[in-house]
Amino acid sequence: MEQLIQYLSDNQQEFYVFILAVFVGIEVISKVPTVLHTPLMSGSNALSGVVIVGSILVLGKTSPENYVALSLGFLAVLLATLNVVGGFAVTNRMLEMFKKKPAKK
């Protein structure tokens, strides 16, 4: 328990950011119209692919002899890239439907 409290106080900055980011996340999408629910879900899914940074770091610091860690790290980079690239590409495809059409009508 002491160690946990020590950890919290050693990483105060991170936890303040954590708390503030919760409110930012809620605030920025609070007025989203219903038609955009699915594209927004897809877009934020692409953003959660930011774990790719962690996967690059973890594979980058693995020693070239540790084959288990290498393969797990390799897989992590691969899957995170799928999440990022696929996520943004799908979102873009969905949003193409919202392209302004030339004013006819």
Binding site: L36, S44, G54, I56, G60, V77, V85
Partner: protein, 271 residues
Amino acid sequence: MILQIIDICYMVAVVLFILGIKLMSHPDSARRGNALALSGMLLAIIASFLTPGLNNIALILVAMALGTGGGLYFAKSVQMTAMPQLVSFFNGMGGAAAALIGLVEYGDLPVDEVGKGAVLMASLVIGSISFSGSLVAMGKLQGVIKDININKILAFLVLGLAVALAIYVILSGEPQPVLVYVIVLISLIYGLAFVYPIGGADMPVVISLLNSLTGVTAATTGLLYNNMVMLMGGILVGSAGLLLTLLMAKAMNRSVANILFTSFGGSSAGG
């Protein structure tokens, strides 16, 4: 010097993420928002490559090339109507990546670091749930997986077991390489049990919730590395995803609790 440059890149990336999500919530600016968020992500990735002492760069690039090829292929080839399945699939991949990072990091973490240990276990458990849950959600939307009623109490016991084992591993003060894999396995099972009983029509709401969970694992991974771009980006997705889940349920005239617990083994929720 290079470390400071990396930090500044991460900072700019976070701003691009926030602006991106904000623009994405208006029909006129949504495409620009997506582009902004993408540029933030590219910046964060490039900055990560600047990290001093990075090994295995060739391996990283191969993995990224494969992921990029696969991601583009799926995104282009899937039919418009099958988009939600695909989002769910990609979301599961993100969760799996976070869990894998946790698995690798466990080997490097000193056993007496209780705080980081707790963060790592959160990544493992939530990432695994998000992975298996997303795949079930995808299968349900695709129509290949049918509703199976699983007793919710039993499901919660499974989750409880995973959490209890995680706490034991953190506090045991000894390396537990086998138990860590057991925890992943149990969490994967919970992910299945969590999504299996929910009806196919409610899947979009569930996917949004799982997406929020993947965001949380990105954030816990950020805590593990004291990396602000992962922390901020992850929490942003976590909280925005949670609100989006509530909004989507509301648009369907349902409550989230109603969607998640209606098939509660035997007992009927009021109303």
